[in-house]
Symmetry: C2
């Protein structure tokens, strides 16, 4: 699966680079095998490709220094946040230095009036939200993993359950400080909410997966914690009913804060894992944010829509304890399904289509899963048209592994045929490189030129995003 990544090592002088780094950073440079392995660990079946060394900088200036040292020896640099990426983003297919940003975990400023914060790249979203809670503020982007760093989330253009209301990292990053391939430090934007002053370097950097620059600081948008948050669970006899309800709610501008679709398999696993008694049907997990009045209005309107689309029940919970229980179950879906199939590995997939094609795309995908005899549940961020299937694979079974590979290719092709994308929020990394030409056509050449212009020696996270020629 590692695709384009081969065993070719860096042509540069890694040993010299490490010696110089050691001299400068002492114990903050490590080359032990366990640490190197840990820094290339992937959550999927992409094989680990460890770096030659790991270094822990504590400031933007140190990152710039490390980049210059590596560049002088023509050695690759691979930025590392929390290692929760899913497509081999932190692998070192050409060796090199893993630059671990977890010591850069300071919250530099929170501007309550402007609703923004600037943090070092290694701050986790949990740490940021813990810090914000007492101020009545929150950072909404929720990719699941609590320890995911803001820098890593910006680098992969992460999103998750709340994108339907609050947008993705594309929408919520106001600017980054990045160290470029030549060691230059660039601040992509000031703190104004909008600007027309030149090329949008912020958006170019967000989602560039460490291949154009290394983020050291990130400024993000914040939001006031809503006066009222209400969660609801709503099972449907059909997938279409669930999807159509969300489409109508969006058209009405109801402003759903979350609209997650769990298929009957996933609900079954959650029931066992969290000891719940949910009906085992395609089910929407919803959340409404607003003032007391507007949240109540949203719920009433949504219930009306859902009933007209055949909803079987509509249960809502405004008490924080009940909400927490519900969303805890949703967030543990991965573990629920994993514990239901011991001995099997879970593989995360991620495609996104226009919402009008979502029910069709999921139905075709479920038929495909059945046809190839795989075990896989479906989880969708309905409002975005984004969904995941999670095949549970017996890696010792070669036939099953082969079947899964075929399934993955058909899944990506199906999404693209429906005017969608091969990745809605996980990023390209190594795993999705093979689909990029099919998705972007001549756009890939534009991306290649930008990469060559900003990183002419190809030292920033090589072997990611762009197909080799």
């Amino acid at each position: 699966m590692a695709g384009a990544a081969t065993a070719v090592r860096s042509k540069g002088d890694v040993a010299t680079a490490i010696a110089i780094l050691r001299q400068r950073f002492g114990d903050r440079v490590q080359t032990g095998e366990a640490i190197r392995r840990q820094h290339s660990h992937t959550l999927t079946w992409i094989a680990s490709e460890p770096p030659d060394a790991v270094v822990w900088p504590t400031s933007t200036e140190e990152v710039a220094e490390i980049v210059r040292i590596a560049a002088a020896q023509q050695v690759p640099i691979i930025p590392f946040g929390a290692g929760t990426s899913l497509e081999g983003h932190v692998n070192a297919p050409f060796g090199g230095i893993s630059l671990d940003l977890q010591q850069m975990n300071a919250i530099l400023s929170v501007n309550q009036l402007d609703l923004d914060a600037t943090v070092q790249a290694g701050v986790s979203r949990k740490a940021l939200n813990d810090h914000l809670r007492d101020l009545g503020l929150f950072f909404p982007v929720d990719p699941g993993a609590e320890e995911a760093t803001i820098g890593g989330m910006a680098a992969t253009r992460a999103s998750g359950t709340t994108a339907v209301r609050y947008g993705t990292m594309r929408d919520n990053v106001l600017g980054v400080t990045a160290v470029m391939a030549d060691g230059a430090i660039v601040r992509t934007s000031r703190r104004a909410r909008k600007s027309s002053a030149g090329y949008d370097l912020t958006r170019l950097m967000v989602g560039s997966e460490g291949t154009l620059g290394i983020f050291t600081e990130v400024s993000v948008r914040l939001y006031g914690i809503p006066e009222s948050i209400v969660a609801a669970v709503c099972p449907f006899p059909t997938l279409e009913g669930a999807v159509n309800s969300v489409i109508q709610a969006i058209q009405l501008g109801l402003g759903l804060a979350r609209s997650e679709l769990l298929d009957e398999i996933l609900i079954g696993a959650i029931n066992k894992h969290a000891k719940l008694g949910l009906e085992e049907r395609p089910t929407l997990f919803l959340e409404f944010h607003g003032t007391d009045v507007s949240a109540r209005d949203q719920i009433a309107r949504f219930e009306e829509i859902a009933r007209s689309e055949g909803a079987l029940r509509f249960d809502w919970a405004s008490r924080e304890e009940d909400r927490r229980k519900l969303w805890k179950a949703r967030h543990e879906a991965y573990w629920a399904i994993k514990s239901a199939y011991p001995g099997r590995d879970a593989l995360a997939t991620d495609v996104c289509v226009p919402i009008s094609r979502l029910a069709e795309c999921i139905s075709e995908t479920k038929a495909d899963i059945e046809q190839c005899g795989l075990i896989a549940s479906v989880l969708g961020h309905v409002g975005d048209g984004n969904f995941h299937t999670q095949p549970m694979i017996d890696m010792a079974n070669a036939r099953e592994v082969e079947a899964t590979k075929g399934f993955l290719t058909r899944l990506a092709e199906r999404a693209m045929r429906m005017d969608g994308t091969c990745t809605g929020e996980h990023g390209v990394g190594q795993g999705k490189i093979k689909y990029l030409e099919a998705e972007h056509g001549a756009g890939v050449e534009v991306m290649r030129r930008i990469k060559a212009a900003l990183d002419p020696d190809g030292l920033l996270n090589p072997g990611k995003i762009l197909p080799q020629r």
Copy 2:
């Protein structure tokens, strides 16, 4: 004011390019002076620099053909929409071919379920909204000029009165089809609402002002026309009260759809022009969108906030006729102020700061206006921290012209000092080039490299955005 633009003409063979274009496009190539002048007409005091010829393509393929013909003769290409830009974007400082996209005015598709539309670049926002109205949909970005084209708005990253709720062109363009400098046709994105598949070419192209590629088609987000739209007018004794009210409303997540601040001078001019009797104070023009219940809730909550910030009155109108009258007055502010000072030219300015600095930035700016003896009103998109002053200049008065130049520089520097930008929504064009280095520092070099990588001969709208070295 044209700054970097000089009288140097293209080194390419313009005559040959025009001859080849004539052979191919016949009467759709024009070289008459009136037409050439019209295609470099600017709404500000930047001097017109006409192109050598104007050509009207009707398809993406024709645009690609024209670009290749021009490139073969090393002749510049300047894309032209409706000519409503404000910073000399359509000038031809090095001569060349103005590529007028107004015949590319087809609405190619509207997807009601997905809330998106794909249009040719020459479609005006008015034409799009006229088309959408019967479908119960609308395209929200509102820069003022009704005839502004979707392509031009995307090229300048336009926004306007509704950005506080619906975002700018950055947020509302789903993808563009662009002809690149070598004639390649790139579709930057498919129709999925989000994607993590590689560099964000859409956002790179939006705001690139025709310097990286020529947009021929644009896909945009649409919204359902809200069930309830209510407008309100709310005068304050002080600027701070108005700004603080909006800050609180945003923190509460009220979702103001519009929040425009007009100063007492502008209110005075509007009173005369539209025969209204508004109190001549700093005044908010507001709009609330929602369901009947949520719009009422928003109004009640906002009124409460506004009163606590010292609002003098709070008048609201939900009847379409009353709303139209109000917003017509607001949209005619430019003409109101112009007719109040006959014989003077209006100069549009445009800076944006973090909202916490907005009142301070406007106050300092008003003091500066007074100090240099200028006549200028203030109009702010408060929710974005974006505001315009409009000095009314007697161009025959050299001292006044000089004073204005000094004022403009101080205004841009003031905004940047407050962590803001020299242009919130008008773009760089020729007029703001001189501030780019101060605003972006090392980022300008990144922009230059991208430009050189994608347009190595510098033929796409040369003399815009990037400072010459």
